[in-house]
Amino acid sequence: MIWVFAVVVVGLIAVLAELLLSYQKRASDLRTKQDPFRRRIRAHATAMQDAMGGIQGVATEQIADFTTELQALAKRAEELREELLRLERQVFGEGGAAAAEKEDVIEDGDEDAGKVDAEDTPEDKIREAQDFIRAEVDGHRLSLQRDVEVVRRTLSLLESKLRRAPAVGEKKN
């Protein structure tokens, strides 16, 4: 009888040892499987931070330049518009003084855009000057403004995305 119980106790000790060993092995397997995922998560977070850092520096610098350029363009457009208004007043109001202002219309713009035929009437020249302002000055300014807006919007979206990303990554690391 004692022998039977002794064998049972030894068997139970063996079962306990076996249990502990097998569970340790499974836990170690699971931890080993986690490592590559942790590494990849860190790599994603670093890549995002790097990409963001690089583009943010360049974008901030260039946006400042573009803003200055936009202000200069706006000023120039305003000057041209005022000049055109003055010409219009002379052409439609005083009539005779239009020929004297011909040089101003062409002066500020591109050579081809400002060129007018010898037979053009003052009204045609005014219309061409209006087209020039609209296409060359306003068009350029608006395109630039749109690009700057796209950059600003995308940057702020990026920042908000990255503010959320590391918080999730750090929680489980």
Partner: protein, 68 residues
């Protein structure tokens, strides 16, 4: 002697059960952590693609604006 073996046997059965339960709990926690890491890795990979796309868009817009 017989009583000692009997008590020892019962104690060993209880210890076995406790060890099994505790370790199973730890294993299930590790498994859940692994699943969480897998899904987080997938989410971050998607976010990284989005971020790279956005960075490309910004670079594109900057280059376009620079060329004007």
């Amino acid at each position: 002697m017989l009583e000692g073996l009997l008590i020892g046997g019962v104690a060993l059965i209880i210890v076995n059960l406790v060890v099994r339960d505790q370790t199973q709990f730890r294993i299930s926690r590790l498994r859940a952590e692994l699943l969480g890491l897998i899904s987080e890795e997938k989410r971050l990979a998607e976010r990284r693609d989005e971020v790279e796309l956005m960075v490309a868009q910004i670079a594109d817009a900057l280059m376009r604006a620079d060329r004007r």
